[in-house]
């Protein structure tokens, strides 16, 4: 729905186009660099001047997913002929694969914790926001302010008490603990954002649904939720991005079982020298889920405003 008074001239369009493409290139350059580095060999990754054209290799990805050890000379001689391609790749450097690395495990932790906490933050946030928006909640404004106030300091400021509490409760290094923590941090954001979206939906729709033979919950589910979907989707993206990228708490509270990808990826550096291609490969894979999630929900984000069929 365009409200432009006059159509932009073709010169203006060109100018705007160049500006947008230029800005996009600048913001995406680091991303391209990371993706490219993931496919470089170790010498190429640290070459100076940096190599823009290089011979691509998946060595970084193989290193990322495996643990290796130096091959003894005897073993090298008695090597069997029908080795898989990734073993051959590693053997060129005089190494052999001894097992999978921890990366897929950590990555999977990130998926569980990131999406799990997003799910809970959205479900609880929607319920709370609906109540704030539609019911007479005593001290509503104070409560909303209180919820917002949890955002007024950086979450890490409460790291020590949370660490102690988690230790006491046995939540250290557990999936449940991390989901709980990220849900708690995201909840204030989701309550406030979704509250705003639900406030914009006129209450008349629900009243109509109540008259039409639906219960309050059915009216919420059938009438409010579809209209708030756009807002809820964008809130979910924000929540996921926070939980997915969170580093400080993850370093502090997880070490083994529940460690997420962000604290793990930098530790790859220590494996057999500075393995930049492997780090870049890890970062690339780490970017994918949020990217896919955002692209999937993009339709909702851009679907546009539903003009309500309510006479104002």
């Amino acid at each position: 729905m365009s409200f432009s008074v006059t159509e932009a001239s073709s010169r203006q369009k060109w100018f705007a186009g160049i500006l947008v493409v230029g800005y996009a290139l600048i913001t995406m350059l680091p991303l391209f660099w990371i993706i490219a580095t993931g496919f470089k060999s170790s010498p190429d990754a640290i070459a100076y001047p940096p190599k823009i054209v290089f011979e691509p290799t998946v060595e970084g990805y193989v290193n990322l997913f495996t643990t290796q050890t130096r091959l003894s000379s005897d073993a090298a001689v008695s090597a069997p002929q029908d080795l898989p391609w990734y073993e051959n790749l590693v053997r060129k450097k005089g190494m052999t694969i001894v097992g999978p690395s921890r990366f897929s495990e950590r990555f999977f932790n990130s998926v569980i914790i990131g999406f799990g906490s997003t799910f809970f933050a959205i479900v609880l946030g929607t319920a709370a926001a609906y109540a704030f928006s539609r019911f007479k909640v005593p001290l509503k404004d104070d409560l909303l302010f209180f919820i917002l106030s949890t955002r007024m300091m950086p979450p890490i400021a409460v790291a020590i008490p949370i660490f102690l509490m988690f230790r006491y409760l046995g939540l250290n290094d557990t999936h449940a603990g991390m989901i709980l923590l990220y849900t708690a941090v995201n909840l204030s954001l989701s309550v406030w954002l979704i509250n705003g979206f639900i406030d914009e939906i006129p209450i008349e729709y629900e009243e109509a649904a109540l008259i039409d033979g639906y219960t309050r919950f059915q009216a919420f589910y059938k009438v409010v939720l579809p209209q708030a979907a756009t807002g809820i989707a964008s809130t979910a993206i924000f929540c996921l991005i926070f939980a997915w990228n969170e580093y400080a708490f993850a370093v502090l509270l997880t070490s083994g079982t529940a460690q997420t990808a962000p604290p793990f990826i930098p530790t790859i550096i220590g494996v057999g020298g500075q393995d930049w291609p492997a780090v870049a490969a890890g970062a690339t894979l780490f970017l994918l889920p949020v990217m896919v999630f955002t692209i999937l929900l993009r339709k909702h984000l851009l679907r546009g405003i539903t003009f309500g069929a309510v006479r104002k």
């Binding site: 008349e204 109509a208 109540l210 039409d212 033979g213 006479r311």
Partner: protein
């Protein structure tokens, strides 16, 4: 269909008394129109019956059954909202199907299709059935909104100015349709309007509300011909009733402070002189604006009148209404 009784219903919003001890019996099959200016409590009355709001005191009974504590869904009422309230994420068809698909009714699909087809035919929206409601004009939205009520078979229909944003022709069509549907099906209908033609032509009973109080309730002709107060008299009549001091004319009974003259209560040709200040030819009738002893009067005269501004017309009250200082009607001498 059902009889609906409001029994001493009182409702306040904060300090504002929206309804003050309103009692009303809406007989089975009757068409009750509520009249009154904004804030008189018309919409609140509808919301009391629907269950969207509940009375502070008093009760609403449907067929003798108290509605206390019953959710709107369980009251089996259909309502047309003033603000349409069409579900924007659904198509016109889905909007019309919505009440039929509720868990309470759970109508079979072939029956739904039949009803939707029949109602959309009446409301002339068949060609819009697969449109999004957001792509409709105001008048179309209002028709869909009426249709969403008509697909059901409730104990009472509640309609809040359902024809207000339609153009004149459609309004006239739908007035006849609605009255026809109501008369044929024997539906009970509670209807809010500002439109005097709607009130006079459709209503079996008119309820006049004044600041939350029901001041008069009866057939429209009774309200028109025998109003109990200036307020009630002013609700109906186009042009409006003229209210001037009673002493301007002879023959006022004792205690009468004001005289109320509907256009047809001003006899022309005899009596005292007045000046024509303005002549409005409306086609089927002509309105005369008169100046009488420094008071303005509006009356109706022959459509083809030769009268023009500055002419003198003799006028005389004919069976007027007399009111005391508070505006209450007092019995007048027939003259």
């Amino acid at each position: 269909m059902a009889e609906v009784v409001l029994d001493n219903v009182t409702k306040s919003f904060g300090d504002t008394v929206a309804l003050d001890q309103v009692s009303m019996t809406i007989e089975d099959g009757s068409f009750v129109v509520l009249l009154g200016p904004t804030g008189a409590g018309k919409t609140t009355t509808l919301r009391m019956v629907s269950g969207l709001d509940t009375p502070d005191s008093g009760d609403v009974l449907v067929d003798g059954r108290s509605m206390k504590g019953l959710m709107p869904a369980l009251r089996n009422v259909a309502m047309v909202f003033q603000q349409y309230s069409l579900y924007p994420h659904l198509t016109v068809r889905q909007n019309l199907e919505f009440p039929l698909k509720s868990p309470l009714l759970n109508t079979p699909q072939n029956e739904i299709d039949q009803k939707v087809a029949a109602v959309s035919e009446i409301l002339q929206i068949t060609h819009k059935l697969d449109n999004k409601t957001t792509a409709l004009s105001g008048g179309e939205m209002q028709r869909v909104s009426i249709g969403r009520a008509l697909v059901r078979d409730p104990s009472i229909y509640l309609m809040d100015e359902p024809l207000s944003s339609l153009d004149a022709k459609l309004r006239a069509d739908l007035r006849i349709e609605l009255k026809g549907i109501q008369a044929n099906s024997g539906a009970t209908l509670l209807y809010v309007t500002h439109d005097q033609i709607e009130a006079m032509t459709m209503a079996t009973h008119v309820g006049v509300l004044d600041s939350g109080k029901l001041v008069q309730f009866g057939p429209p002709r009774e309200i028109y011909e025998n109003p109990i107060s200036i307020y009630a008299a002013s609700r109906l009549g186009q042009p409006r009733i003229n209210i001037v001091p009673a002493h301007l004319f002879e023959g006022a009974p004792a205690g009468a402070k004001l005289i109320g003259l509907r256009p047809e209560q001003i006899a022309q040709g005899t009596g005292e002189e007045s000046f024509v200040t303005r002549v409005e030819h409306l086609g089927d009738q002509t309105r005369l604006h008169l100046s009488f002893k420094d008071h303005d009067l509006i009356t109706v005269t022959d459509a083809h009148t030769e009268l023009k501004t500055g002419d003198i017309v003799k006028i005389k009250p004919q069976k007027p209404f007399y009111f005391d200082a508070s505006g209450a009607r007092i019995a007048g001498r027939e003259n």
